[in-house]
Each structure stands twice: as structure tokens, then as C-alpha cells.
Symmetry: C2
DNA sequence: TCACGATAGTCCGAAGTTCGGACTATATTG
DNA sequence: CAATATAGTCCGAACTTCGGACTATCGTGA
């Protein structure tokens, strides 16, 4: 077993989590693509501007716009004009989109539970703490 | 700052690493796409079969085949018949492909160094250890 | 106050990615 | 040795992504 680099080691469990969530959503009739899910999970309860979303997901504005089109068409998000800036819009989660959040949460929790069982509570806590710390130097969307 | 789920927290630094490597390769004239890079990084020194690669990367055989076509065309990998199985092939890294490995290594090391500086050596060591442990329950390609 | 550079978002078209389905060839198994 | 499984390929369609060009609005400095 060769020594994998830290990046790939991070990607493996991420992919496991993502796959589990998307598969569960599909079982409940919500067929999101990976691209759609990656965008959707970045939308918080307060909404977010498309350009911020583009930065957070590291997609271009065009790509993001196309994915938002789909999410909007499927009824998961809404785009409303930003009252504070005539050029901008705000993306928010609709009631139907909230279903995705509500369905995802238990899946994420179950997987985190499985990880905690394997690693032990202390090391799991440390993992989260380290990753949060790491955001300070790796997340392009921190302001 | 809302509490992000563990999956997303893992993805953020992964993406940072991936971006840094691909950007550096491009600076040296090697223009790999993200998809190509994700496949390439899974090829070890002993070579690997396309079907194993497909499983590891969670791509279908067709998608993987298409990406291998590109990597082969660009001269980074070679596909040779598997002497042990007439149906199979073995994907190996060519001399030109080895350049990618040699260029990537210092970039990965530099980023790991930056992370270590931020986190401290002990917590970085723990991070790697925890992630390696986690593979046991999250990596579809462990045999 | 207003011209001008910066920013938010969109439209268009091309290239790259991904997959489902169907297929051939080889291996394994009972 | 027939039946089934596995390795890989071809084809075509849908999705993803981006570069370039564009409009509208904002912010700023003279």
C-alpha cells in the first residue's frame, strides 16, 4: 500500500460522504447531479450571491449560472434581486429545497457516527477541529 | 460562519491541493484537466488495471477509458496487455508521465509544509493518521 | 456630478466529461 | 463444455465547464 498524499487522503472520505448523500436523495426522488449537490450544499439559510457561490465552489460565473438554472427549474432554489445592489441577486433555498437539507442531515450524521465509531470520539473531534483550522489557509471563501 | 459538515470540510483542503498541483503542472507546460489529474494520481509505480482505476476513482469504465485515451495520447501513460489475463490491460506511467510525478511531489510537499506550519507538526501527523485509518471504511479500492 | 474602471450577472458556442446500453473477447465455474 | 462473470470497447446523448463578449449597475476620483 503506497503512501498517499494528504490531498487524496482527504478526497476519499469526502467522496464517500457525497456519494451517500446523493444516493439517499435519489432514493427519495430527488435526482441531483454531483455538480448540483456541490453547489447546493454551499447555500446557507441566509442565502448567498451567485458570485460568492462561484468563488466558494471554484466555478466560473457561467458554469454556476447554468447549475443555478437547473436548481431553480427543479424548484430547489430561488433567485431574487438583491435590494442592496441592483446588479446582484440572492440565491435562497425554497421550501422544496429545504427537503434536501432535511433529508441530507440524517445521512451526514449517520456517516459521521460510523466514522466516530471507527476512530473514537476524541480523534473525530480532533479531525473536525483540524479541518476547521485548515480552512483559514485553504478556503478561498472566507470573509 | 455556519458549521460545515465534515464532508465539505474535507473537500476544501483537497481542492486547494489539487488546484495547486494542476496549476504548477500547467506552468511547466503540462496541461492536465482535473479529471485527468484525478485518474493519473491513482496510478502507482506498479501499474494498475483500468477496471481497478475505475473503481478507485468511482468513474465508469467508459469514462475512464476516455480519460486514459487522452493520457495515453499525451504520452503520460501506456496500456499494455496483462500477461496474467487475456482480457485485461495494465496502465503504467511512462517516462514522460514520470515528469508529472516529479513535478507534483515538491508542490505537495510545499503545501503540506504550509499546513504543518499552520497546524503544528503533531496535529498534522494526527490528521494523516486519522485519514489513513478512515480509508478502512471509506475507500472502495482497498484490497 | 459624472466619466470611468470595477463588479454582477447573462448569452453564445465549443470542448471536455460522464454515463447507459450494447457489444466482443477472455476467464471461471459447476 | 455450457453458462455465467469479468475486462474492456464503441456509440450516442446529456451534462459540465469554460473563454469571450455583452449589459447593467456600482463606486470613485477629479
Amino acid at each position: 500500500m503506497p503512501e498517499l498524499n494528504l490531498g487524496l487522503l482527504l478526497f476519499i472520505p469526502y467522496r464517500a460522504m457525497e456519494t451517500a448523500v446523493v444516493a439517499d436523495l435519489a432514493r427519495h426522488g430527488h435526482h441531483l447531479s454531483i455538480a448540483q449537490a456541490r453547489v447546493f450544499q454551499r447555500i446557507g439559510p441566509d442565502g448567498i450571491r451567485p458570485s460568492e457561490l462561484a468563488e466558494a465552489t471554484q466555478l466560473t460565473k457561467q458554469t454556476l449560472g447554468s447549475i443555478l438554472d437547473q436548481l431553480e427549474k427543479a424548484g430547489y432554489v430561488a433567485r431574487t434581486p438583491d435590494p442592496a445592489d441592483g446588479r446582484a441577486r440572492v440565491v435562497t433555498i425554497t421550501r422544496r429545497g429545504q427537503e434536501l437539507v432535511d433529508l441530507s442531515l440524517p445521512v451526514v450524521e449517520e456517516m459521521e457516527r460510523a466514522w466516530t465509531e471507527h476512530l473514537g470520539p476524541e480523534r473525530t473531534r480532533q479531525l473536525r477541529e483540524v479541518l476547521v483550522d485548515l480552512r483559514e489557509i485553504t478556503d478561498p471563501f472566507l470573509d
